[in-house]
């Protein structure tokens, strides 16, 4: 991509140059002449349309149109804190069993409509991830959420269920059997304390089970440091990062927080010139791998060996041993040297779920003196607590007589546990089986009592995601259905009268905030409480290291050409519990750009071997999946996303894709997300995939500009020389646009953008963007106002990848505006490219003329159409709509507005308060949610603003600026920390 486009652009320059100079000398521009012409003529297009309108009037007289009577129904007794038309914000907590976020819920007229990160929280820092953003929609999920209690498959009342269950639990305790509470990760100190109380009354066990766990890391940390948790990774302080299959920017442990820190490590603004060096070994291409400076595709089976080799090399450098490996991976020497030089400022992580691998990774980190600097052992990450072997033990106990009853909550083992059969059989021996899940799923039907939990936005709770970091969860709406939060059920069955709210409050007042003497209400308002903690004394013990080395240090079993299957959690779907969320279903995979399916990614080499191509079906141990030929995929491997293929869920998530949890294997007491010897064969037949970006190449155009760190240090505008050249040549026929007050602009730092797609969902939630479904996505009718383009460069076996978020560019000389026959799109005096829906007649000329392809056409009336049965066509689903944004009609064009409703809101606030508008006060949804801080929004007319300074950065350029569209969106060039720009693995 590099060399080719230079020559193309020179050619283009030459032609623009001449014509511009000639015309600039004329005082009277062509537009003036046309304007005068129009003014002198009696009729215009507008008049023509006016006359057209009159022909309808005749019909109107005869049919005497009546306006509908609209009712205005005020509160009977208005709650003091509610103001109609103004939003309230409540701090609460998101935790779905895997991912944690302290959030602010925007509640408008009693309806939660948007989630933002809590800026006070040191974990979320005002940011979110795509899954957190989308979780608001699951509140209004009428098809997946359970609506009332059931007993033996028929509706019952809470009273009957409570009486039955309490009696059964007593029987079980009397018979000397155990009651097991099976949950996903629980990080709520109050809930854990409540469960302990419950289990002291009804003897039993609490088992945490998570389909994609960090079990091995927990085990290794227990051995090495005697801690129950994971050290906090400070990627912002790292100079070298080596990751083995850990997609820490996408889905691993705490992706939002890690992306924020990674953004800092990738920051080159304001003259900074140090950049983290990131090595990534992985099987399939992830967004983390895409951001890596050096990426190496490896098979899952090779990974432990490379980690071992790295371990040896570092030990050698540390002087602890002198052996070297044979057939060492090519990158080891260079990487080890880099790590050794950055001792104390590096991070090695592995996504492996093998405790032996994690022991070695810990030892490497220890040798590199990372503990205490980049790896924080004081504030441990506590979100992952499930130990894989606990679940296996439970299954064996269930078949014996030890367990009498089971209560499950927020788990779906029949779907996501590899031995689902064992679980179902175990249930048959039990006296009472209670499901406290909140949605329809595969597991519930095997349970006698299904007592639906409330949504997390309807519940009280708390959380301790890190040592000493607490947050509270409060309901933002009353229960929509006849549901009850599980903690209240436990309290009921314990025979207590109090509710869980008083339990949490009491727990906090006596255990958490008592020392600081804080008031409950003020803590609840902030949503968080972070206590100072004393530095912990942690001793490192590596007694099991040699065993680990011995067990891993053996040749790979099986044939070298065996196809290995690698299972991963995708950015949209996670572990699958959000599968009924239409926003996430339609969210294109950041790499493959496929929505509405999971698929088997294979390399082109392997595709040739199997003689398949993109869209062909293959079978992997009886599971049929469509193929995507994925650049960067390791040869002889297949990567498949987990979380799809539910057979019992809501209307959106059922029978979409294939469930690959049955492929999970068990090794070393832990579940492994790979399968080393899968039987793979081509099935024949085509499968229609919904791919939203079919073309990944730039075709030599300077849309993405990039350079390498050494060149950047020499010359900050390296790779961006064209910008200065084009800037000089901007001459126009048209009248210069004048912006009397504000001039809004957005900046995108390509270095920081990690391609996580959070902005896409945030925009969808804010701007009432419809979901159109797989068929329409296939017809290129996806409606997202901001998309993230992904481009490849280099060879197909291991290409370099660039993510480029693309909202409307709000060009000051917009090509779309000139071609609209009815002037439905035009320019505001604040630099916004406006779109008046009620004026649009749907010619789509603007779409054709937009060089950035950001305009979207409403082919259907998505909001009230049976065919688009997602969220907008039911009263319940429509509750999520933002009342400040029009729901668009069929036949009109729409596009990014820079969240004009937020601009107007903040301007009004400033006017009312008689003050200046502060820089950064206005944040469009995408900017607000971006975890990596890659997006900046502000007033270009304000020379003090961040955006003004960003536009002055030498790295700043505009997309297709040679077209003189004068976009209001600037991009900062990508700088890779590598030696040459044509890296081959």
């Amino acid at each position: 991509m590099e060399k080719k486009y230079w020559s193309n652009i020179e050619l283009l320059n030459g032609s623009v140059d001449n014509s511009a100079e000639e015309l600039s000398n004329d005082d009277r521009s062509l537009l003036d002449i046309i304007d005068e012409e129009i003014a002198s003529k009696p009729s215009s297009r507008r008049n023509f349309l006016k006359f057209c309108g009159f022909s309808f009037a005749g019909a109107a007289i005869a049919s005497s149109c009546e306006n509908p009577v609209k009712r205005a129904i005020p509160y009977l007794i208005k709650p003091e804190e509610v103001t109609p038309g103004k939003a309230n914000h409540y701090a609460t907590t998101y935790f779905d069993g895997y991912e944690y976020n302290s959030i602010i819920v925007k509640v408008r007229d009693g309806r939660p409509i948007k989630i933002e990160g809590n800026p006070l929280s040191s974990v979320s820092r005002g940011r979110t991830t795509a899954r957190v953003q989308a979780s608001i929609l699951s509140l209004y999920d009428g098809s997946a959420r359970l609506k009332k209690p059931e007993k033996d498959g028929s509706p019952t009342t809470w009273q009957i269920a409570d009486g039955d269950i309490a009696a059964r639990l007593k029987d079980i305790a009397a018979a000397g059997q155990q009651t097991v509470i099976l949950t996903s990760n629980i990080i709520s100190p109050s809930t854990l304390s409540l469960i302990n109380e419950f289990l002291s009354l009804y003897p039993g066990r609490h088992v945490m089970y998570e389909p994609v766990s960090a079990s091995a890391m927990l085990a290794a940390n227990k051995v090495n440091f005697n801690i129950n948790g994971i050290p906090d990774y400070h990627f912002d302080k790292a100079e070298v990062i080596v990751s083995f299959s850990a997609d820490f920017l996408g889905t691993w442990i705490s992706p939002g927080e890690f992306a924020f820190r990674y953004g800092i490590a990738r920051d080159l603004q304001k003259g900074r010139n140090n950049l983290v060096k990131h090595y990534q070994f992985e099987t399939g291409l992830t967004i983390t791998g895409s951001k890596a400076d050096m990426r190496y595709p490896v098979k899952p089976s090779e990974e432990p060996i490379i980690i071992l080799q790295l371990h040896r090399e570092i030990s050698r450098l540390a002087g602890q041993s002198s052996t070297t490996s044979n057939n060492q991976h090519a990158a080891i020497n260079e990487m080890a040297a880099a790590l050794w030089n950055a001792r104390g400022k590096s991070i090695i992580i592995s996504g492996s779920n093998d405790p032996d691998v994690q022991l070695i990774v810990n030892d490497i980190n220890f040798m590199l003196e990372n503990y205490g600097s980049t790896l924080d052992l004081n504030r441990l990450l506590l979100t992952q607590r499930a130990i894989d072997s606990d679940m296996d033990l439970l299954i064996s106990e269930m078949s014996s007589n030890a367990v009498g009853g089971i209560i499950i909550w927020n788990t779906n083992p029949v779907y996501d546990y590899h031995n689902a059969e064992g679980f179902i059989n175990g249930l048959k021996n039990l006296k009472v089986t209670v499901s406290l899940n909140d949605t329809v799923n595969e597991t519930n039907e095997h349970f006698r009592y299904i007592l639906p939990a409330s949504h997390y936005l309807e519940s009280w709770d708390d959380a301790e995601p890190k040592t000493g970091v607490f947050s509270l969860a409060q309901p933002a709406i009353r229960n929509l259905f006849d549901t009850r939060q599980p903690q209240d059920s436990l309290l009921k069955w314990m025979g207590k009268d109090s509710d869980y709210y008083s339990y949490v409050k009491n727990y906090w007042l006596t255990n958490i905030i008592q020392e600081d003497g804080l008031d409950w209400n003020s803590v609840l308002q902030k949503g968080i409480y972070e206590s100072d903690i004393a530095a912990a004394q942690v001793n490192y013990s590596n007694t099991l290291l040699n065993d680990a080395v011995t067990s891993l240090d053996k040749p790979v079993a099986g044939n070298k050409n065996d196809i290995e299957v690698n299972l991963y959690t995708s950015v949209a779907m996670g572990n699958g519990n959000h599968a009924n969320n239409p926003w996430l279903m339609e969210l294109p995979d950041p790499i493959a750009k496929v929505s509405w399916d999971n698929f088997a990614s294979i390399s082109s080499q392997t595709a040739n071997d199997l003689s398949v191509t993109t869209g062909s079906l293959i079978s992997i141990n009886d599971l049929r999946l469509p193929v995507i030929i994925q650049p960067g995929q390791a040869d002889s491997t297949i990567s498949i996303a987990l979380g799809y293929g539910h057979i019992k869920f809501g209307k959106v998530g059922t029978n979409v894709g294939t469930n690959v949890y049955p492929l999970v294997s068990v090794m070393n007491d832990n579940r492994q997300l790979y399968l080393l010897n899968a039987s793979v064969k081509a099935e024949g037949g085509e499968y229609p995939l919904a791919i939203s970006q079919k073309h990944g190449s730039l075709e030599g155009r300077p849309i993405v500009r990039e350079t390498i760190l050494s060149k950047y240090r020499e010359k900050p505008d390296s790779g961006n020389e064209l910008h200065a050249e084009f800037e000089e040549k901007h001459v126009t026929l048209y009248k210069e646009t004048v912006f009397p007050g504000h001039h809004w602009g957005m900046g995108v730092d390509l270095n920081k953008c990690v391609g996580c797609n959070t902005c896409v969902i945030a925009c969808q939630a804010e701007n009432n963007i419809p979901v159109v479904g797989k068929d329409e996505v296939r017809r290129t009718r996806i409606m997202h106002w901001i998309r993230i383009d992904r481009y490849y460069s280099g060879g197909t076996d291991n290409p370099e990848v660039v993510f480029q978020p693309l909202p409307c560019q709000h060009c000051d000389n917009a090509p779309c505006e000139n071609v609209c026959p009815v002037s439905a799109t035009n320019h505001s005096n604040e630099g916004l490219n406006q779109m008046a829906y009620n004026r649009c007649i749907g010619t789509k000329y603007c779409i054709n003329n937009c060089p950035y392809k950001v305009r979207r056409f409403n082919w259907f009336r998505y909001a009230t159409n049976e065919k688009f049965d997602y969220n907008m066509n039911s009263d319940l689903g429509r509750m999520v709509l933002n009342p400040d944004v029009t729901v668009r009609e069929r036949g009109v064009v729409e596009k990014c507005t820079f969240c004009v409703q937020r601009i107007q809101e903040k301007k009004l606030e400033a006017k009312i308060e008689n003050r200046h508008l502060e820089d950064g006060e206005i944040q469009p949804a995408c900017v607000q949610s971006c975890p990596a801080n890659a997006l900046v929004f502000g007033d270009l007319a304000n020379t003090e603003s961040k955006i003004f300074k960003l536009f002055k950065e030498p790295r700043n350029y505009h997309l297709l600026e040679e077209l003189h569209t004068l976009p209001s969106v600037g991009y900062l060039t990508l700088v890779r920390n590598k030696e040459d720009n044509n890296h081959e693995a």
Binding site: G53, F54, S55, F56, A57, G58, A60, I61, A62, S64, C65, N67, V69, K70, R71, A72, I73, P74, Y75, L76, I77, K78, T83, P84, G85, K86, P740, G741, H742, N826, S828, N829, E830, L832, Q834, M835, A836, Y837, N838, R839, D884, V885, T886, V887, T897, V900, Q901, Q904, K907, L908, A910, K911, I912, N914, R915, H916, L917, D939, A941, N942
Partner: protein, 482 residues
Amino acid sequence: MNLKAKFYRNISMPRFIIVLITALTLFPLLTFSQEGKQLFEKHCTVCHTLGQGKLVGPDLAGVTERRERSWLNSFIRNSQEVIQSGDPIAVQLYQEYNKSIMPSFTQLSENEINGIIDYIGQWEPVVVEVLDVDVNKRTGFKHEEYLRGERLFYGLIPLQAGGSFNCSGCHNTVTSDSLNWNPSAIDLANSFIDTSGMNIYQSLMQPVSAKMEAAHQGMKFSEEEIHYYAAYLSHIGGSELKEHKIFPVKLMLFLGFGFLMAIAIIDLLFTRRIKYKIVHIAILLIGISVHSGLAYVEARDLSRTEGYAPDQPIKFSHKIHAGDNKTDCRYCHHTVDFSKVANIPSANVCMNCHNVVRTGTNSGNFEINKIYRAVNSGTPIEWVRVHNLPDHAYFNHAQHVNAGKVECNTCHGKVEEMHILRQEKDLSMGWCVNCHRDTEVNILGNKYYSRFQGLIKTDANGEVLPVTVEDIGGTDCMRCHY
């Protein structure tokens, strides 16, 4: 079929003997001193009732038996003094009623206070009547009973006690353009079918308010007749007032000229009865101009509702509240300064005043009772929205009223003179845009506009020229459409 006989049988069959104790308390007995009564109503009824329970202060029925006359006298004269003297009863009352202070009445003479106490002492809960009917029967009337009730209601059948009264003359059954303070027939019916609503026997036999008493002067109803009225009301309850059909002048004009033009063309081309072609041409010209004129007016007014003044569920008069009583707009529409919407007040805001003000100037108790019914039954009042903007137009009250300092009257007209609220302006886009073009912005007075200083121009005399809303972008599409 002998309808009459059948009716009698139907009434007499259930034979419920109901003892009706009227809740009516201010009903005057002739033996009372008129002066005492007037004084009581003037000074005491704001906070006290007789036999109707607590209001701000205690129910005074029987107070003369509970307390010494001298105690009452001194308490009325200056209650605080009695309380401060440590009188146990007074202190206890003071505590019980949330320490609300009863004003002193030192301006009243000894005689006047005695008159009030006499009035209270002589007051009795009125009239115990034995009725032969089930007063609680609200549904399940026979069709024949309803038919008879309807005739009685329209005054087609004379009353037994003489005279025939057309109830629909005051209690209208069709919509009307003019204001009618009397409850409409549907209103009555809705109140009747509501279990907590009116007791028709009591209302007609012993009118509740002075207004009603005056209006029903000289009408005597028998129980049987009231039963028929009840049947009628039960039947029409829950329905809507019949539409008062207005003759479609424009439509007739349109069709009439269409017809004339058609004839003119036929005659011009085929029959040729009229010699002078000027006639045809004149008809065609006039016809076309009438048609296009009508078309223009209708097209312009399509979905515009200038002058819209729908009937509201409660006959709420802005004239009485905002005009006569000078209540500030913001007292009820209090979110106007900081929210997009100027809220319609919730019933608890109404109750701030109507907790005490229980009788309306024009409508007696009937309309105000609707608020109580709403509050007691927990059903919000469904007002009819008068000012409707299309969904694609964003309008923010705070922007205009608070930031822009636009008076309410500018867009809503003289609300303080309207009994029925009417849409004064057409709320068309042209109207909005014209105002944005003409209205000046306080560019020097608000710090927000410091970025817009480039717009400030002075004339030859150094006077600052006005900067309009349009100058700062007030006519951009995305100020209102997004």
